[in-house]
Symmetry: C2
Subunit: 410 residues, 2 copies
Amino acid sequence: MGLIVQKYGGTSVGSAERIRRVAERLLATKKAGHDVVAVISAMAGVTDGLIKLARELAPQPNEREMDALLATGEQGASALTALAVNALGGKAVSLSGAAAGIVTDGVHTKAKISHISPRQIHELLAEDYIVIVAGFQGQSPQGAITTLGRGGSDLTAIALAAALKADDCQIFTDVDGVHTCDPRVVSDASKIDEIAYDELLEMAGAGSKVMQSRAVEFAKKFGVGFEVRSSLKDSTGTRAKAETTNMEDVVVRSVSLERDQAKVTIRDVPDRPGCAGKLFSVISAANVSVDMIVQNASSTGTTDVSFTLHKDDLVLAEKILASLVPEIGASAMAATTGVAKLSVVGIGMRSHAGVASRLFACLGEAGVNIQLISTSEIKIAVVIDEGELDRAARATHAAFGLAQPRPAAG
Amino acid sequence: MGLIVQKYGGTSVGSAERIRRVAERLLATKKAGHDVVAVISAMAGVTDGLIKLARELAPQPNEREMDALLATGEQGASALTALAVNALGGKAVSLSGAAAGIVTDGVHTKAKISHISPRQIHELLAEDYIVIVAGFQGQSPQGAITTLGRGGSDLTAIALAAALKADDCQIFTDVDGVHTCDPRVVSDASKIDEIAYDELLEMAGAGSKVMQSRAVEFAKKFGVGFEVRSSLKDSTGTRAKAETTNMEDVVVRSVSLERDQAKVTIRDVPDRPGCAGKLFSVISAANVSVDMIVQNASSTGTTDVSFTLHKDDLVLAEKILASLVPEIGASAMAATTGVAKLSVVGIGMRSHAGVASRLFACLGEAGVNIQLISTSEIKIAVVIDEGELDRAARATHAAFGLAQPRPAAG
């Protein structure tokens, strides 16, 4: 008995048949004695269809109107889900983000939630309704519809769980939880039962796109425990929570993979304050998203700066750098495609030495050459040849004992 | 210089290319010095697609959620139109019906507008925006999205024109105005330049579905003049207005045709108060829409009652009547399909005798047998064999001199 927030992604509501299954699950949760708030994404394909139409009309669509347009996808899917619950004999009401009391700032297409006034949700719950909220959206103080950016329905769910002081939050998706590695690459990859917010955040940054990072950050900030689980099965998924001592027993929680990367190296960048800053501020202003940045210690007054980015952004980056490299006094630029990123993530790393050396040794034994290395407190990432990624993933997954049953971590 | 409300139907915004053309027309109107409010329908096909999905989930969809679902069609098309205007260098903002201040009663799927608070529209117009309002919808005092029934965008436009005291209201559609008859049947059918509200209302009831009747009634009540015209051409259309003396010079304004009708006759209905009432209240409770009702004068204590209905409703009507006919003491029921309705409409009829006799004579000369006759103050309708409808239409159109150039009416 308690209040449960459930979030269903676009694949989970991708057809009438799937919407009906979501409705059945909502009803089952209600019948088990819980109050239920559901957050629904747009049906798979709908958002992309709307974006395509918009781009036909406007190469750079007005952001206010883009928000008004895209928000209709979640509103429609929410109404359909409510229709399905009612048709199955339940009581459900759908609400737009605005009607649900989600107030955001006025920054269109990437609004931040300022606060939630869940008065109407509470009233409807008291009247025994299953309340179905359109994900991904809110309303600015001026009354304009705003959206929360890609994956924003995750944030809607976590933020509602916090505002409603929900007893649980369940993120339903088309996989049955967070895995130790991509099961399509590593056959004995296993579902992770418990994960720390920080690990999920690092994994998202490392290419494992399970949940929107902002949603996880929000959950961390407000201590919202949640579970990532499958909308297609009935099995338990992965529970995300604040770190516990016990969690540190596992040194490495997962191996994350990111393909389609490119690597750029700028040679002989003058080792002066502001040089690297200028480089990346110009690139970022062009909306090129840069990932790993590596700069070696300088002894000669110049240094080499390398970074990775998605290969699709490389042409634009090269164009920008062609004039920028001489401008900042660097000597040359070299770009490579066909590289990928492998990262090991785990909060247990903090208290265990030797993770890096074990990773490098295992990759060495597998004959995988490391091109770049970058580390954070709970992550080690390496850039390697994309053709060697699968082999490297299997070797790393085995070396850190991630296959089921898990051996005691070292 | 003034305020113009323009309404565009689903075909007019049926593709990105057509939306762009609408945007160009809005901009041209704005550049001509007018303030512009546009009312937009859902893109052709979108509403039907949503209804199909809803019916897959719920044979009798919850009406509140149906409204929430269908309203997204108009909201999306409005946002796309605003995107297109902005992309062409104009300034446009889209508003949902609720945001536009359209307040309705709480009767879902066929809400009535209670009042309009156009504060936000006025503010946006003052800031030089083209204001684009999602048609067909409003908001109940409780904050639920409501819709105004089929063709409701016409009503949105007329009601906004009234509330904003607009200088003109233009209903853009895929035909270039109201015609003297269906041009596919009568090759010399011509566009009508001016028409009275009452004529439009009778024509809608007679099968000429140019505009939603409620919208015309609203226009009549509040004296909103409007023009029905083509979104594909630049020609002037048909202007609807309150009746003028001059208008009465034309005895018959148009010949309206309605196919796919069925005729039911109930024999020997007891001529007692309440008998016919019971008949039609039971039929209407089953959502069967009955059109012409004809009852002959009684001399024997019983009478025959005939009525027409759409042929698709006949099976249901027959099922209901099978038990109802003996219950009310009638003797038998006879049903005919393959009939159609031809109506002549014109406010000039009121002051001219002999319209009925001229119609009957011309049909007789054309060898068309009349099965039922029903008249109102400004309409005469006959039921005839559907196979004879086209011939009857051409003969009637000619007999009343409706081809261009119009002869003086008698």
